[in-house]
Each structure stands twice: as C-alpha cells, then as structure tokens.
Assembly symmetry: C2
Homo-oligomer: 206 residues x 2
C-alpha cells in the first residue's frame, strides 16, 4: 500500500487515481484550481482527499500529472515542500505537431525536474508511454520506469504492481530521454502502423 499524492486534476490524474484507489492505496489530489481537484477527488471517492497547492503533499509518492511545460515550474514553485518525496514525472514533451520533442537533445523533462527538485527528492520517470484511455482501462500493461535511486524505483514499482500493471525498469534517469522518445514513437505508431490509440508498447517474452 502506497500513500500517493497526484498533482493535477486532468484525465491522467483521474486514470491513475482510480487505479490507485482500486489497488488499496491512499490518494490525495492537488490542483492549482482547488475546486477542480475537489471535483476529481469526489468523483474518485474511496477516501480520496484534496491537498493544498504548494504545500508538502501527504503522499510519499508524488505524481506530476500535469502538462510537460508545467512540470518544472510547478516543482520549482513547490521547492522544499517536495523534500524527501519520490516524484514521478509522467509527461510527454511533444512539440505542437507531435512529430518531435520540445526538449533539448541532451536531457528530458524528468532530468529537468530532478534539477529543479530538492536534492533529497528522488525522481522517477514512468507511465508516459501509455495512452490515457488504455491506462484507464487497466490490465496487464507495461509501465516503463527510469530513475537513479534504486529504492525510489522499487517503491514506484510496488505502486505500479498495486495497480495491476507491470513495472519494467529501463535503467537510470538518463533513459528518460529515450522513454520520452518512446512516447513519440507511440504517437507515430498511432498515426501510421497501428492507426489507433488502442494499444500499448510492451515487453514480449521471447
């Protein structure tokens, strides 16, 4: 059982929050617009609470379920309120046409978040290759994970398993660059070979 705070009130927050509650975790929803956060918490039910924006989240695991260009500013705004937290970045920095990434070539949103977060926080990239509706439906999906701290990755992996999903560790946080690229590949597949959003990238045992 994990204690999870979700920053964001959108569809990814809703999908992860619902799975988290179903998996027996405690969930706090926090949004800059408290009314929206409250509405999501109420919709989720099952004891979901509402947090106060900019203050220390209740959860040990803090999921940044925001648009990619808000991730670093929000982490900066939170500052020391994120001390000792495990921060999970799920964002995809797609450019306007979703044909490339709007990040410098030698980094990732996850690494930028790590730079902006307190030194005691541990950043994990996860969930970004999963389309919202596929994630919401749950099932045996692979959740690709990257991070520098083994214990933080183990905590996030246990949380992922509680959702009925499969954590797949890809390595250290520098792999977040390529996971963000895998998010772009997923969009490419949706627009070309697969032709729909109804799929996920995964590991197939040989």
């Amino acid at each position: 059982m994990s204690s999870v705070s979700i920053i964001g009130s959108g569809s990814m927050a809703s999908a992860i929050g619902a799975l988290a509650l179903k998996g027996g975790n405690t969930v706090e929803i926090t949004g800059r617009d408290r009314a929206k956060a409250q509405a999501l918490a109420s919709a989720l039910g099952n004891g979901a609470t509402v947090g106060t924006w900019g203050t220390a989240p209740a959860g040990d695991i803090v999921i940044l379920a925001v648009l990619f260009d808000s991730a670093v500013p929000i982490v900066s705004e939170y500052g020391d309120a994120l001390a000792n937290k495990i921060v999970v970045d799920i964002t995809n920095p797609f450019n306007a046409s979703a044909t490339g990434l709007a990040i410098p070539h030698d980094t990732s949103i996850a690494q930028k978040v790590a730079e902006a977060a307190p030194a005691s926080a541990h950043i994990v990239k996860a969930f970004n290759t999963l389309f919202r509706d596929v994630l919401a439906a749950g099932g045996p999906l692979d959740v690709f994970v990257a991070g520098d701290d083994a214990q933080a990755k183990a905590s996030v992996s246990a949380f992922i398993e509680s959702l009925g999903l499969r954590p797949q560790d890809t390595g250290d946080l520098s792999m977040a660059h390529w996971l963000e690229g895998a998010g772009l590949l997923s969009v490419g597949l949706a627009n070309h070979g697969v032709g729909s959003l109804n799929f996920s990238l995964g590991v197939k045992q040989g």
Copy 2:
C-alpha cells in the same frame, strides 16, 4: 517475394538471410571478405548467392547488416551502385558501455545513411530493436519501421511479412532517431527490468 541483398556476413545477416529464404525471397550475401560471404551463403543454402563487394547489388532491397560505424562509409563506398535501391539500415549506434548513443543528438545512422546514399535510393530503418537470437527464432515479432518514402516502406513491410514478422510503421525517417533510442531502451530493459535478452519490444493491442 522480394529480391534481397544483404551486405554483411555476421549474425544479423545470418538471421535475416535464413528467415528471408524460408519466406521464399531470393537472397544475395555480400561481404568485403568474399570467403566469409561465401561461407554464409553456403550455410544458408536454398539458392543464396554471393555478390561482389562495391558493385550494384542484385536485390531491390539492400540490407545493411554491418556495425553502425561502418554503415555510412560502406554506403559512400558503394556510391551510385545503390542507385534506385531500397536500403534498410538495421544498426544500433551504442556507445562503448551501451548506455547512450554514439550519434549526434539531432540525427540517426539511418539519416546519415540517407545523406550518403544516391538521391534515387530510399532509406528505411528497421529491425534494430530486435535482439539477434530472438530474431533468429522468428515468430510473431514486431519490426518497427521508419522511412520517408511510402512505396519503399510498403516494399520493406511486405518483405517483413514474408518473414512471418509484423511491420509496424512509426512514421518518417526522423523517427529513426527514436528507434535507435528504442534499441538502447531494449538494452536497458535487458540489463535491468527484464534481466535477459530473451524478449522483444512490441505493440500490444488494447
């Protein structure tokens, strides 16, 4: 049925050559070391022939089954001998520790090959996310494909289907950068979450 020339005599050349012959395609093997190419062609049997290094390949589809840092030099050396060919780049530009890519951040080996090849050649990235032994075993594997020319991609996709594999179009050749990153992710998974080379990345229908 495709007419395929494989440049290279190593394990990927062997794996693709064997599947290609089984799928009813004609296969020519060409290597700088003609004796090695002849040995592979003989081992493959089923009418596999040996080509002459640096001259126009017999196949309409030319598979560059060489180490990544040889791909561009070889294409340059072949020059106009590759006119009008579909050139398939399967390489992975791993750095020495296989924790990053030994390419500039804004390109890929496939795009470098396209710059070096005659303007009438069409470059397709494919096969690079598949580990050698998994590919050799065949089966319902996903082969991620990227390329700028729709007809060339269709030809390569038909060839892939003849191998009993599934082509998955990811978009234009710029996606080769992220496919090369997906090759790196596969190594990361092998070294971390999966713990073996006995898997493939694939598309799971939702």
